[in-house]
């Protein structure tokens, strides 16, 4: 919870109205983003003081009978009590659930898998028998606003850093038995992340919207819209965070602004990820 005096509130609102925020940024400028990639399939992303970690694990599993030619992905976000005391115990559950749901919606596309950032069909090994189960876990370490964008970026970085072991399937398996698979320790396939979208959250304060709001700025918001946009500039998911209603034309305007900002974020993120991977290889 952010406690602000009336003066501080006015200062924040006034700054946003004049396109000069309290930390000197313009309305549509992000805070400095730093990406660190760790061991196989993990990444740490910092946006200002907001800090999150994402990790990807892959296990062999059985596909669902309703989608035998697809792998499975589960996304789970945990809000650590180190981020804020109210997340101790079950306190962070609601926020965790909301973030997980929003990320799932942004990354996994429609029912048929159209527009999914993660192609579930590529996770299939043997139709109806063996597939990869991808576990994506996110941990929120420090909160200073804009967690969803940071988590989206961290998951993208972690996925691009994920090598999925090559699997050889014994060819002569009877049709009704589980086939034998051999997981290679040396050969890895790099996970394709070109389709993974970035998430841009536009926070509406007064009549204007800003990106990458800090906690203080978020406390003044009337509403916020998170848009996820892929490289083709197509919208792959959108949620509005509660709050006041918006005029439909404002929503459409926010979408187009989000699309515009996402291009810059996407490029920035790509270069950060590439740089992080380069430094890792040097070590």
């Amino acid at each position: 919870m952010v406690g602000l005096s009336v003066g501080e509130k006015h200062f924040i609102q006034g700054g946003i109205a004049q396109d000069l925020r309290t930390d000197g940024r313009k309305r549509l400028t992000y805070r400095p983003i730093s990406v660190e990639t760790g061991a196989n399939g993990s990444a740490r992303v910092k946006m200002g003081k907001t800090e999150v970690i994402a990790s990807v694990k892959a296990e062999l599993g059985r596909p669902n009978s309703s989608a035998p030619d697809k792998g499975k992905v589960s996304i789970y976000i945990d809000c650590s009590p180190t981020a804020a005391p109210q997340y101790e115990g079950r306190g962070g559950e609601e926020l965790s659930m909301e973030l997980s749901a929003a990320l799932r919606q942004c990354l996994l596309g429609g029912k048929t898998g159209a527009g999914a950032g993660i192609n579930l069909s590529s996770l299939s090994i043997v139709d109806g028998k063996v597939c990869w189960d991808l576990y994506i876990d996110g941990l929120v370490i420090n909160i200073d606003g804009n967690i969803l964008d940071a988590l989206g970026a961290a998951i993208k970085a972690a996925l691009s850093n994920t090598g999925i072991p090559k699997v050889n399937v014994a060819s002569t398996a009877p049709s009704d038995e589980q086939p034998e698979v051999d997981v290679s320790d040396e050969e890895f396939l790099q996970f394709d992340t070109t389709a993974v979208p970035v998430i841009v959250t536009l926070t509406k304060v007064g009549r204007h919207y800003i990106v990458d709001a800090t906690s203080e700025e978020e406390s003044e918001m009337s509403s916020a819209v998170s848009v996820s946009v892929n490289r083709q500039g197509l919208i792959c998911g959108l949620t509005k965070r509660g709050g006041a209603g918006l005029d439909p034309s404002v929503v459409l305007d926010m979408i187009s602004v989000g699309k515009h900002v996402s291009e810059q974020l996407m490029n920035k993120l790509d270069s950060e990820i590439a740089a992080a991977e380069a430094t890792m290889e040097e070590e």
């Binding site: 009978s65 309703s66 989608a67 035998p68 030619d69 609601e94 659930m97 909301e98 749901a101 919606q105 596309g109 429609g110 029912k111 048929t112 159209a114 527009g115 509403s223 819209v225 892929n230 197509l234 919208i235 792959c236 998911g237 959108l238 949620t239 509005k240 965070r241 509660g242 709050g243 006041a244 209603g245 918006l246 005029d247 439909p248 929503v251 459409l252 979408i255 187009s256 699309k259």
Partner: protein, 257 residues
């Protein structure tokens, strides 16, 4: 196999519907017919009634095709003891499914929390929370039968129930969703269509204020398509809003007699 193996689930549904894997190619054609014979841009007939549950402060029943829901409102009543002081009211939403709501028994009971939080987000922008400080209004929904578009129906029904309970709102909340199937946009999809959809877009809005309280999009959409879908939904929302309004007027006039 399952009938013999001891480790298999104890029972199974004998109906073959669960084994369809691929969507029928007909869905991607330009001129297919919807399962219930509607036009692409035609909603199901809506049946709405307030005052379904006597024990509640307000309630409503909604039936859109096979989707049937009941929403009860309790309160404003004392917030839970553990809650901190708040100078605005609280809204507590909970959606449950009956075990027979889905074709396969007990299938839908997993993601209730997500639906509940969606319901909360859609309603909070419409309710004047400052009219009942320190207290909580409980919105409880039960989906009797799930026939597609469950969430929008629950939201519309809940706002009707809130009005029945006399909770102050800026306007009724009308919710409509469209499914994207191949190139087509179909409004108010049934379960079968939802299962094969490439994407969906749901709008909840306050029709007479022309405000959107919630918008969710899944799947891949281009801007013009979002435009088109939003137009479609907003138009349907304003029509639904009128139906909801007339339902309230009707119940008010019958109770006066």
């Amino acid at each position: 196999m399952a009938a013999k193996g001891g480790a298999a689930p104890a029972t199974y549904s004998p109906s073959p519907t669960t084994f369809k894997k691929k969507r029928p190619p007909i869905f991607t054609d330009v001129d297919w017919v919807r399962p219930d014979g509607r036009d692409f841009h035609q909603c199901r007939p809506a049946f709405l009634r307030t005052g379904a549950v006597n024990a509640a402060s307000g309630s409503a029943y909604a039936e859109f095709g096979n989707t049937k829901v009941i929403v009860s409102i309790f309160g404003p009543r004392e917030s839970k003891k553990a809650m901190m002081y708040s100078d605005t009211g609280r809204l507590n939403c909970n959606v449950t499914y009956t075990t027979f709501a889905t074709p396969v028994r007990g299938q839908a009971s997993s993601d209730n929390k997500e639906i509940s939080s969606q319901l909360h987000k859609s309603l909070e922008g419409a309710i004047m929370l400052d009219t009942f400080p320190k207290t909580t209004v409980d919105v409880f929904a039960l989906v009797l039968e799930s026939g597609g578009c469950d969430l929008p129906v629950v939201i519309s029904c809940a706002s009707l129930a809130l009005a029945d309970a006399g909770i102050m709102m800026f306007d009724l909340v009308a919710a409509v969703s469209v499914s994207c199937l191949g190139k087509n946009l179909v409004i108010d999809p049934v379960s079968e269509e939802e299962n094969y959809q490439d994407g969906s877009l749901m709008i909840t809005c306050l029709p007479s204020r022309n405000e959107v309280t919630q918008l969710t999009i899944t799947g891949e959409w281009s801007s013009p398509k979002i435009h088109e879908a939003m137009e479609l939904c907003l138009d349907a929302c304003s029509k639904l809003g009128k139906i909801m309004r007339s339902c309230l007027k009707e119940s008010a006039s019958t109770s006066q007699e």
